[in-house]
Symmetry: C2
Subunit: 702 residues, 2 copies
């Protein structure tokens, strides 16, 4: 046990200001919050002291590793609650804290004002008061001189400190000069100009700094807003039956770009083992031409740092990255920490694997399920340090090859301490690298993986199909405490999960799930062609496994952009990009609608009217029948006043409707449209410039 409960209080502490209940703060500051470039971090705290003194405080923030804190002002919310914010404009780790102290000059000035108002100031007492005040002004003057002496060398030292110092010295002299009229002295003493300049330079006597340096990990915007496309390169061949290659994938990239995706993510591309290789539909006997599961990694051709020969070589891989980049796409790789019996590690490091009492290797299993084609790594191995280093070297290897986004397979079967260590070290050097946690397990583990550093996390969306399930889950994700560290990545399907809703619902079900995914979350993804082509056939009745799963065989697809859902996908991805309500992660609100088959929600990025962007989505989740209902809109959440008339423009069909109240009739016939995606259009919004507040900065002194 490392820390004692309750810090021992030290005698004679003269820091009288208390700073507590600081938010955002996860697990007492042990866990970083997450933001992307361009976000601002809003910080609130209770700040107060004993007695009735005036306080001064600043929000401190800096890049981790910087020695100088930057500062921004805080504003009062009432009842000792204060708020400030800072913008994060670089990726990497930032830190923030709060510093506060007694504003002795302000306290003196407020007191003087009250005494003057109450007529309690005699000539004699004024002389004494001015002496006291002048001493405080002189203290500030001295500080200002120090700042001035820093000059240009400290780029953020207070501008005008030299002039400030001169001015303060003059004022201090005036307060105690017997030749001045006491009325003039009193006017000076009570002036807000004097207070403001003193405030800027006053010594921070007995200042309290919040006991923890809180931290925020800042990522690329992609971490908050991206559409993912999962594809098996081997399914990209132009001729049926052929094993596709990275070169074939390159030829397919324009299709993915045209659909508006940001990321193309590939299952493992490493050599596939022969021992225990699985056949079609996961059968125990592989046929001669069965390609095996890409997750059974490693063969005589190499392991996690090699490319499966049938896919191509590193030159092909480099071409793939370049081709993707030309199209505005990024390639994400899947890293699965498990080995085929033929993986070089098995021979070179037998101690890294789970073994039986007789020394033989234990194949992976979850009885009665068996995975004869893979061995499990042993994270309790005596040689575990070497194992950690080696795994890190796998990520480093692909980072050096140009990969910046990793989807990590089953991270919940490896220790959390390992992920914390790995991600911290990799992001320290490569803060642009992102990790997606593919953990479909119980909530506590999924949350701790996000806290351990995963940039993005798979969710339960795949199994949340009813109206209340969807509303409850997304409300929790958006409004619960996890919103500070858990970034949802939502998928209507994966190579492992073809939900019964899709198996039974036909094309309308695919449309509904696609629109929900793409409009409810900033990050969503689909397991490519089989989804677009609305393939709903499972291996068997109770199974979520695909029939003819691409995990075990090569498939060929119709690569025509006008086939299946592709036009809808392209349209919706365009709508996402064009609307700040989606692109900037606007607030999500669920609205009542009196039909359980209709889900109604909005995302809204509201500023001051002209830049407002509010989108109202209504989805019919009954893919078989027409459903109709009356909305009960929370108009405020759409940036609308109570009685205000407005237009809703359907971005899918181009049709517009004029609405007034909260109550509006909606009917969706799945043969024609599964959903409305309405942009709210206000009438008569006056075009004002958006109000902006820039925090002032000055040099920190701690």
């Amino acid at each position: 046990m490392t820390s004692k409960a309750g810090p021992q209080a030290a005698i004679g502490d003269r820091r009288r200001v208390v700073i507590c209940d600081v938010v955002p703060q996860v697990d007492g500051g042990e866990v970083s919050i997450k933001r992307v470039i361009g976000d601002s971090v809003n910080v609130e705290a209770n700040i107060f002291a004993d007695g009735h003194d005036e306080l001064a405080f600043v929000l401190l923030y800096k890049r981790a590793g910087d020695s100088v804190w930057r500062e921004s002002e805080m504003a009062g919310l009432g009842n000792d609650r204060w708020q400030g914010s800072f913008a994060v404009d670089e990726i990497g780790r930032w830190q923030y804290s709060i510093q506060a102290w007694i504003d002795r000059f302000g306290t003196w000035q407020e007191r003087l004002k009250k005494l003057a108002d109450a007529g309690q100031l005699s000539k004699d007492s004024l002389v004494t008061e001015f002496q006291f005040g002048a001493a405080l002004v002189s203290d500030a003057a001295e500080e200002a001189e120090c700042f001035a002496a820093l000059g240009d060398s400290a780029s953020e030292s207070l501008p005008g400190a030299d002039k400030g110092a001169i001015q303060l010295v003059e004022w201090a002299e005036m307060l105690v000069n017997p030749k001045e009229r006491s009325e003039d002295q009193l006017a000076l003493a009570l002036s807000s100009e004097l207070r403001q300049v003193v405030y800027q330079y006053q010594p921070r006597r007995f200042a309290t700094t919040f006991g923890r340096e809180l931290s925020v990990v800042v990522d690329r915007p992609l971490a908050k807003f991206a559409a993912w496309y999962e594809v098996f390169p081997r399914s990209c061949a132009s001729k049926p039956g052929q094993h596709g290659t990275l070169a074939d994938l390159i030829a397919r990239l324009p299709l993915m770009a045209d659909m508006g995706f940001d990321l193309v993510y590939l299952p493992p591309i490493h050599p596939i083992g022969m021992t225990g290789r699985k056949g079609r539909d996961g059968s125990l006997k592989a046929g001669v031409n069965d390609p095996g599961s890409p997750w059974a990694i490693g063969s005589k051709d190499g392991g996690h740092k090699s490319i499966h020969p049938q896919l191509g070589n590193f030159s092909d891989f480099r071409k793939l990255l370049l081709a993707a980049d030309d199209l505005g796409l990024e390639i994400a790789l899947d890293i699965a920490l498990q080995c085929s019996p033929d993986h070089p590690y098995v021979r070179e490091h037998p101690d890294w694997f789970v073994r039986r009492a007789d020394g033989t290797f234990q194949t992976a299993e979850n009885p009665p399920k068996k995975y004869e084609d893979i061995y499990q790594l042993d994270f309790e191995s005596a040689d575990v340090k070497a194992l950690w280093h080696e795994v890190k070297s796998i990520f480093d290897f692909w980072i050096n090859k140009g990969v910046r986004v990793f989807r990590v397979d089953n991270p919940h079967t490896k220790p959390l301490a390992f992920w914390r260590w790995l991600i911290e070290r990799i992001k320290d050097k490569n803060p642009d690298v992102l990790f997606l946690s593919e953990a479909f397990t119980r909530p506590a583990m999924m949350h701790e993986l996000a806290k351990a550093g995963f940039s993005l996390s798979y969710t339960y969306f795949t199994w949340r199909n009813t109206k209340s399930e969807v509303a409850d889950y997304f409300t929790e994700l958006n409004q619960g405490p996890a919103r500070e560290y858990f970034r949802p990545s939502v998928w209507p399907n994966t190579p492992d999960i073809l939900h019964a809703y899709l198996q039974e619902g036909g094309p309308g079900a695919f449309e509904a799930r696609f629109i929900l995914a793409a409009t409810l979350a900033g990050n969503y993804g689909i397991f490519g062609s089989s989804f677009e082509m609305t393939q709903g056939q499972a291996r068997s009745g109770n199974s979520e496994e695909y029939a003819h799963s691409e995990k075990y065989e090569i498939r060929n697809w119709d690569w025509d952009l006008t086939a299946g859902l592709r036009p809808l996908i392209a349209k919706v991805n365009g709508i996402r990009r064009d609307n700040q309500a989606f692109a900037a992660g606007g607030d999500l609100t669920f609205h009542r609608i009196d039909n359980d088959q209709l889900i109604c929600y909005s995302r809204a990025a509201l500023s001051n009217g002209v830049e407002d962007n509010a989108i109202l989505v209504i989805v019919n989740i009954d893919s078989k029948s027409t459903q109709a209902g009356w909305t009960d809109l929370d108009k405020a959440s759409l940036g609308l006043t109570q009685g205000e008339e407005f237009w809703v423009d359907d971005l899918l069909t181009g049709k517009s409707y004029q609405w007034t109240g909260a109550r509006n009739f909606v009917e969706l016939n799945p043969d024609h449209a599964t959903a409305h995606i309405f942009r709210i259009r206000r009438l008569g919004v006056s075009p004002e410039a958006p109000a902006k507040s820039e925090p002032t900065a000055r040099v920190g002194k701690n």
Copy 2:
């Protein structure tokens, strides 16, 4: 800044179990929770590991300072949430934490069971499996031998460890003995008996201990349940106009005991200063016979360690404590950290006081209000350490004289760091000492004072008079996070606060406020005789100050137990003691009643029926008129089933009514009764013994 955000992850950590989201836990474990003797501490946490292994865990607890942890079992609540509890049976500080590790034997047994069920165990594989299991059993046997070797010297070492060791060795041999039939070996391997014994002794390989030792301060039951009575000893003389003495107070104690109070609390009993002494009603000029405010402490007769000569001497004080003790009463003293200009400290330690620029002493003020009779201590003084020590010595002085309960005046005008230091040190040596925080200020400070260690805290009750104010406030106090550390002490009046509701409401208002205070909170108090005699006259129209306040003059009261509210007070205090719903701090629930002048709530201590004690209180807060309404009872909170008939026995009048549903008619005429205090009486409850679960204990090993 003392701590880094995010602990640096260390390489090669093989502790795979994660323990997080532990409750109760205040401010990341920095603040102790509070309990009293006899309470149990219920602890919950998320506990899980990567993969699918079985886990083992224990709740750890001990007295602070003990070297050996005690342990109790934890039970599953689902979704990786686990719960355990321990009873606190001694006052002082306790600590608690959680330890968890992979249950290797349990994991192996579960796996074996699944393989057996799936028919996946060949003869050969069985031999290997049994080898593996036998090794785990042998490991446990070795541990058991260690425990056995500790013998009687470690009083809590596992009983029967010697027998356990022998048994485990036998079982391990049987598992690998080729002469045994494999069916018998399998039956043994899968037996719950084997698992249980192994579980008890298994080595805690790579065990995780929660990173913080959480702490709980355990107080005497008085801290949770007590009725306080505030009295000025100088108002206790038998003849009008005379200055009462401690001896006079002794003569009045039986009255307070007969009313059922637990604590008699005295305003400061120290010498009162002459300089700036206030006259009647706080006037600036004191008359020759005006006794001054007891809060203007210090004169030529001494300071905080002296007794005002007109009250008596230390011999009288000792007699007072003894007399109180004989009556089951305890004496609480008020400690006010401020000094009259005549206090010895002013002469001896001028540096301890706030001074003006010209060196003169600053009298206390809150402009335009002035307190000419007191100087303020300066907690920014360069000599602050000596000041802290001296203040502590004041408390120590009275503790040595036998005082165990202190009411601290205006703690919010002294630094929180000081209180944390003072209370921690005093309670380390004298864990039976209690501190009541008299802070009537903003919520953040009131909460931080409770976190700093104050055992009890004044509340806003005095100003919460409407139905919704009362319900909202007590719901927050009972159900919000503060319930772990903030113990409310509720007062309908104080020497400083005579609320307009009492000024205007007449005797019925006093009755209503008394019953609310006494039944809504475990700790409540009244500022004595003026409350009992329903004195509602304020100094002036807008003032909450009493006319002829006892702060500035000597009053005389009718000391007849049958006068004013005294019979009601005695009855209600008796009801409080006789009913576990109050005495054990039963759950508080507000029930709907369709009249804003009627407040309806219950407290219930529910066990299994026969020991249930549920009290339903209905108070008419309109002291002038009859009010009637229909209840809408939450029957479950009263331990009643939906359709169940029950009796309500009014403990104030002795009358009983038979009720069935949630809806019942109630009418209260303030001329006859301000409130009902109903005890719920169920019909046909079967007398079962209450279920008890005792956690098992064993020796901790960390």
